[in-house]
């Protein structure tokens, strides 16, 4: 069990800088998710922590020990690969016990630890099979078993669920969460799926183009996104984001429509400022069909035409036309609607976000 600390960590390939000096402190037993779109440097960062990639600058500390130049085997980590990377010429038992065999563990110690891991992951019936005889979910479990057998300081997961179908992914997500509760170790989990990150992690690190955009708890990154990128990346369906200009206490959009400037931003903007207005589908809803927590203090109502609807059973996503664009809203307790209907929509402006159009940074602070 250990802390992990990255200081000014940099990765260059030739003249191309992929990771631009990131800093991150991960507490002991914390579950950290690195998320971001493809090519944002999250996997490279994980591979640098694992020792599979050389670092071009900065420091990596695991459990207070500088590991910059140590080979992977000396870092006491284990890793679950996206491809699972099971050894195809070995049985499940041999796969699980491989690291112990290499370390020269005694036979009975090895058997005991393999049995423990196999019990935790429900692999007892599969021990004599080869990876080619397993289903995707079973292979995934063997890969996790191989990781826990080593009893490492830090677990690294590299998009472990992206090769599974949607149903199995949800199931394995729950298993990973249970596993973390059981083994109580530090976990660094890379994914491009924000739902996985939100559900699993204690803290989420959102990366973009080799920089860290924001580090925070799932609630923080959802409710108080630090940048326009984070606001658009976290949450499904994504936040409505539209550029506007501050004028006379109102936000004027490019199409000519306008909304009142939310109260909490009045002191933080000046007339003529270019901003990006953001509102989550949960805070922009058909009147009477919102979360109606009763706490809304600043609701703006307007009648808008419906362009399309996406019924999901318990709720319906309503795309309403405002300022020449489709804004997505979440309709709870849905009633039938069809395209072209005009309905009353509510903007809960107390929960709206404003970002600088220039820097993309939140204007909240």
């Amino acid at each position: 069990m250990a802390t992990v600390s990255l200081k000014n960590l940099t990765k260059r390939y030739g003249n191309m800088e992929i990771v631009h000096g990131i800093d991150l402190d991960i507490a002991d037993r914390e579950f950290i998710a690195l998320v971001g779109p493809s090519g944002c440097g999250k996997s490279t960062t994980l591979r640098m922590i694992a020792g599979l990639e050389d670092i071009s600058g900065g420091n990596i500390d695991i459990g207070g020990r500088l590991v910059n130049d140590l080979p992977p085997r000396s870092r006491n980590i284990s890793m679950v690969f996206q491809s699972y990377a099971l050894y195809p010429h070995m049985t499940v038992r041999e796969n699980l016990g491989f690291s112990l065999k290499i370390a020269g563990a005694a036979k009975d110690d090895m058997d005991r630890r393999v049995a423990e891991a196999s019990a935790i992951l429900g692999l007892d019936d599969l021990l004599e099979r080869r990876p080619s005889q397993l289903s995707g979910g079973q292979r995934q479990r063997v890969a996790m078993g191989r990781a826990i057998v080593r009893d490492p300081d830090v677990f690294l997961f590299d998009e472990p669920l992206s090769n599974l179908d949607a149903k199995l992914r949800t199931q394995m997500r729950t298993e990973i969460k249970k596993l973390h509760a059981k083994v109580k170790s530090t976990v660094i989990y890379v994914t491009h799926d924000q739902v996985e990150a939100m559900t699993l992690a204690d803290r989420i690190v959102i990366m973009r183009a080799g920089h860290i955009e924001q580090v925070g708890t799932p609630d923080e990154v959802f409710s108080r996104p630090a940048t326009r990128f984070v606001a658009g990346f976290i949450g499904s369906p994504p936040m409505n984001l539209h550029e506007a200009t501050v004028s006379d206490g109102r936000l004027v959009f490019g199409g000519g429509d306008s909304l009142p400037l939310p109260g909490q931003f009045k002191s933080k903007t000046a007339a003529g400022d270019k901003v990006v207005f953001g509102i989550r589908p949960d805070d922009f809803y058909p009147t009477g069909h919102g979360l109606s927590s009763g706490g809304e203090t600043e609701v703006h109502r307007v009648d808008l035409p419906v362009s399309i609807t996406e019924p999901l059973g318990n709720e319906t996503l309503v795309f309403a036309e405002f300022n020449g664009a489709d804004w997505v809203s979440r309709m709870l307790n849905p009633k039938p609607l069809k395209a072209g209907d005009r309905i009353g929509m509510s903007f809960d402006l107390s929960r709206a976000h404003l970002f600088s159009a220039e820097t993309g940074k939140s204007l909240r602070n």
Binding site: G51, L52, R73, A85, F98, L134
Partner: protein, 288 residues
């Protein structure tokens, strides 16, 4: 006749036609081999007969007995040739496969300057026919004094085989996912252990086939060997076949008998190694 019955009939006819076709094809492929075995057992008169005698009238092992008899009784130093062939082929195969593994692994796993040029260069050496090299090699070997030695032959065969073994083994290492070696390193292996424990076992079918090809190339090679060998010191079996040609006669029966003796070890080796040639061993390593 209803539709199903006629469909069944067509399917049966096609199956029979398929088998007959396969039998004929196999016959064409195997006939030269069968003919050599037959010819080694029958008198020269029958071998040379026109029209050919398809069904042998008399069979005898005389040629085999004579082959192993002393010189002057129709015998040739077949055991010496056999020993030379074995030493030269096995040694050069082992060296070529070892270098091929190192080279193939490097080409499959590492990025380095001039990689594709080097690879192309290796392939281009395969375009030079062996016989075209025999004269230059003869001059060089004559100066170095390594004509008619095992060392000289091994050197030539290693050089001949390396481009091919590298190419073949490179292809097999490429099929072994890189993740596996990385997983092994995280599991506590050194780079070398990861190779021995994980990558080598998975590429073994490829390495086995490279070994068979290299061995057979050496075992059967005639053009270079006929120039670079002189005596029982280094003459290999294919060159030994020439012992059956005299000024005015060719002992076809003896030659065929020696050819059979040559084929047997090659067949045996291929049979032993072929069980390692099962492909698809990497299936199940990664998703799928």
């Amino acid at each position: 006749m209803d539709e199903n019955a006629s469909a069944r009939l067509i399917r049966r006819t096609l199956t029979v036609a398929h088998r007959v076709g396969l039998f004929l094809a196999m016959l064409v492929i195997c006939l030269p081999g069968i003919w050599i075995v037959l010819s080694s057992l029958r008198p020269t008169v029958e071998i040379m007969a026109k029209p050919p005698v398809w069904i042998p009238q008399q069979l005898s092992f005389d040629a085999y007995v004579a082959m192993f008899s002393g010189i002057g009784k129709g015998g040739i130093p077949v055991l010496d040739y056999f020993r030379n062939s074995l030493i030269i082929s096995v040694t050069s195969t082992v060296i070529a496969v070892a270098i091929g593994m190192a080279g193939g692994y490097a080409f499959a796993r590492y990025r380095f300057r001039g990689k594709s040029g080097m690879f192309l260069g290796l392939m281009l050496t395969r375009t030079v026919p062996g016989i075209a090299m025999s004269l230059p090699l003869f001059f060089v070997y004559a100066r170095l004094g390594i004509i008619d030695t095992h060392f000289g032959m091994i050197l030539a065969y290693v050089a001949l085989n390396i481009p091919f073994t590298i190419w073949l083994i490179d292809g097999f290492f490429r099929q072994v996912p890189k993740d596996l070696a990385e997983a092994a390193q995280i599991d506590g292996c050194t780079r070398w252990q990861a190779f021995c424990q994980v990558e080598f076992p998975l590429a073994r079918p490829g390495i086995a086939s490279a070994a068979i090809f290299a061995f057979l190339t050496c075992w059967n090679e005639f053009a270079l060997a006929s120039q670079l060998t002189r005596s029982v010191n280094s003459k290999t079996l294919p060159v030994g076949l020439l012992d059956y040609t005299a000024e005015f006669t060719i002992d076809w029966r003896g030659m065929c008998a020696l050819a059979v003796v040559m084929i047997i070890p090659a067949l045996t080796l291929t049979y032993i190694v072929q069980k390692h040639l099962v492909g698809g061993l990497t299936s199940g390593a990664v998703k799928g």
